[in-house]
């Protein structure tokens, strides 16, 4: 293995951050510039949104189900089993819905974007696109960013809903609770801050998933092996960034909204 000096290593990392920041800012800036690729955006929304629906529904349902299952024991000890709807609701809407949906979409789509764009780079298709007078950031990156942010928002809402349904399934059929009580408890406990936090996160995470996937794809080097490396790095980086930003965003919103 080739050893590199700490100075070169640091320079590479700073350069990577700079390149990523440029790509991310230009992907947003392109929203206000023509041409706008509506057909590409819709196609990506279909691939990302509709394509991710089965995995998001399954993840959401079983997360809500396991959450209810795991917490029922503790709640039963304190005689508060009726609060299970409240617990599943706040956990799903504020935290698990957005984070797990984002992680699933990151695993599926960051890798997809990195491998697709990476293959285009190594086969000179990106150069060909630039040579044909088309900006790859406008044609390839911005539609993916818009589609991911937009679809992740709605996928999170669906995930929250099916997660609550998973909890309801356990509450009704395993714990013998009244379904109406579960749902009214789950609904009434939610306040504006819960929903705002739960729907703010997918917007940020969607942006991270798309920009990280595109960044690693567009910086792929070294043939098919390089594409494979870019794909893995994209999933790892997007997942870690989602978890780190989740902590930061949660704390920030709590402070901003004077919310506990």
């Amino acid at each position: 293995m080739e050893l590199i000096s700490p100075a070169d290593f640091a320079k590479d990392k700073v350069l990577a951050i700079q390149d990523y920041a440029l790509l991310a800012s230009r992907s947003v800036g392109n929203l206000f510039r023509t041409p706008r690729y509506l057909a590409d955006t819709i196609q990506q929304a279909d691939l990302i949104g509709v394509g991710s629906l089965p995995v998001v529904v399954l993840t959401g349902f079983f997360t809500g189900l396991v959450l209810a299952l795991q917490s029922s024991n503790t709640l039963q000890r304190f005689g508060s089993l009726s609060l299970i709807g409240q617990l599943v609701s706040t956990s799903m809407v504020r935290e698990l819905g957005p984070v797990l949906t984002s992680l699933m979409v990151a695993g599926r789509n960051s890798s997809g974007m990195a491998s697709e764009l990476g293959s285009m780079v190594v086969t000179e298709q990106i150069d060909a696109m630039r040579a044909l007078g088309t900006d790859p950031l406008k044609k390839l990156v911005t539609p993916r960013v818009i589609a991911t942010v937009f679809m992740l928002f709605f996928l999170t809402i669906i995930s929250d809903l099916v997660g609550l349904s998973g909890g309801a399934f356990i509450a009704q059929f395993l714990l013998g609770l009244d379904s109406h009580q579960y749902w009214s408890n789950a609904y009434q406990t939610l306040v504006f801050e819960d929903v705002f936090m739960g729907l703010m996160k997918p917007v940020i995470f969607g942006f991270i998933i798309a920009t990280v996937g595109c960044y690693y794809g567009l910086s792929a080097k070294g043939g098919t092996q390089g594409v494979g490396r870019a794909t893995t790095q994209a999933v790892v980086a997007a997942s870690v960034l989602i978890l780190v930003l989740d902590a930061l965003v949660t704390r920030l919103l709590m402070v901003l909204m004077a919310y506990r």
């Binding site: 086969t123 000179e124 298709q125 060909a128 630039r130 040579a131 044909l132 007078g133 088309t134 900006d135």
Partner: protein, 282 residues
């Protein structure tokens, strides 16, 4: 037999006027990591002329084309393409200039998720204001030019290497660019297919008089281009009568160790005393 058109050859040592030249390189240098690929390269490609670029593998031939199109920025020197200083242009401004230049990549670089029709029409779709009927007409016309009209709805993966190269030529010429850049258009092809590709390049040269930079490692391709013309009546490439030069001037540029070691016409190339070049052309 129809005779080749009359000849009008500009003097070889025409003074560099970036506005009058298709491509001008002035003391251009570029390196990747620790390797200096081009070091002080200067040459001019006058409008209407074809220049064949030779060099050993890794001598920077493809890099030269990417520099001419602004896909890479040099570490040093000036590059003027169609009179514009592309070194100092922003990427956004380069897109307009690139629409006046066509390029055929070494491995064709066709968009593999698009059909032949969509690949060839890519530029027209991007222009946004070309009616669908006109796009269809121009796509068919240009595919007829490369004799591949029957492949309209096929994907690049369904075509042979030679057919892909011809589709790439069709994509490059659909907007009738002022300059064409060919990156090893016959690389990896069998002799028969190579001749077909060269015939197409000669056809484009003689019919549309497009300036061209042709990177190749096959000297015989460039000599074929220098000694043949396109006969429109028979729709075939034919050899020029002995002692006669083609309507479009063709010159040769040879790179070695990142520098230009020869820049002149076929006659000067044959007369050269340089050992390396003599070995190269033998």
């Amino acid at each position: 037999m129809s005779l080749p058109p009359s000849i009008s050859i500009a003097p070889a040592s025409a003074t560099a006027q970036p506005m009058n030249e298709a491509v001008v390189f002035e003391d251009v240098a570029i390196g990747f990591e620790d390797k200096q690929v081009l070091n002080g390269v200067s040459f001019q490609l006058p409008r209407g002329e074809t220049k064949a670029v030779f060099g050993a593998a890794g001598s920077g031939k493809s890099t030269l084309l990417k520099l001419a199109l602004g896909l890479l920025k040099p570490d040093r020197g000036q590059i003027y393409t169609l009179g514009q200083d592309i070194v100092h242009m922003k990427e956004e401004d380069l897109f307009a200039l690139r629409s006046r230049v066509g390029i055929v990549f070494q491995e064709s670089a066709l968009f593999d998720s698009l059909t032949v029709r969509e690949n060839v029409a890519f530029r027209l779709y991007e222009e946004g204001d070309v009616p669908e009927s006109q796009i269809e007409e121009r796509v068919r016309e240009v595919l007829r030019f490369v004799e591949l009209e029957h492949t309209l709805d096929k994907f690049p993966a369904e075509l042979s290497g030679g057919m892909r190269r011809r589709v790439a030529i069709a994509r490059a010429v659909i907007t009738q660019p002022e300059v064409l850049l060919y990156d090893s258009p016959t690389g990896g092809l069998d002799p028969v297919t190579s001749t077909t590709i060269i015939e197409l390049i000669v056809k484009q040269r003689d019919v549309y008089k497009t300036s061209a930079l042709l990177v190749t490692h096959r000297l015989q391709d460039a000599f074929t281009m220098a000694t043949h013309y396109f006969d429109r009546q028979s729709n075939r490439m034919k050899p020029l009568p002995k002692g006669q030069r083609g309507e479009v001037r063709i010159t040769f540029l040879i790179l070695r160790d990142g520098k230009v070691i020869f820049d002149g016409d076929a006659h000067e190339l044959k007369e050269t005393k340089d050992e390396y070049i003599r070995e190269f052309i033998s």
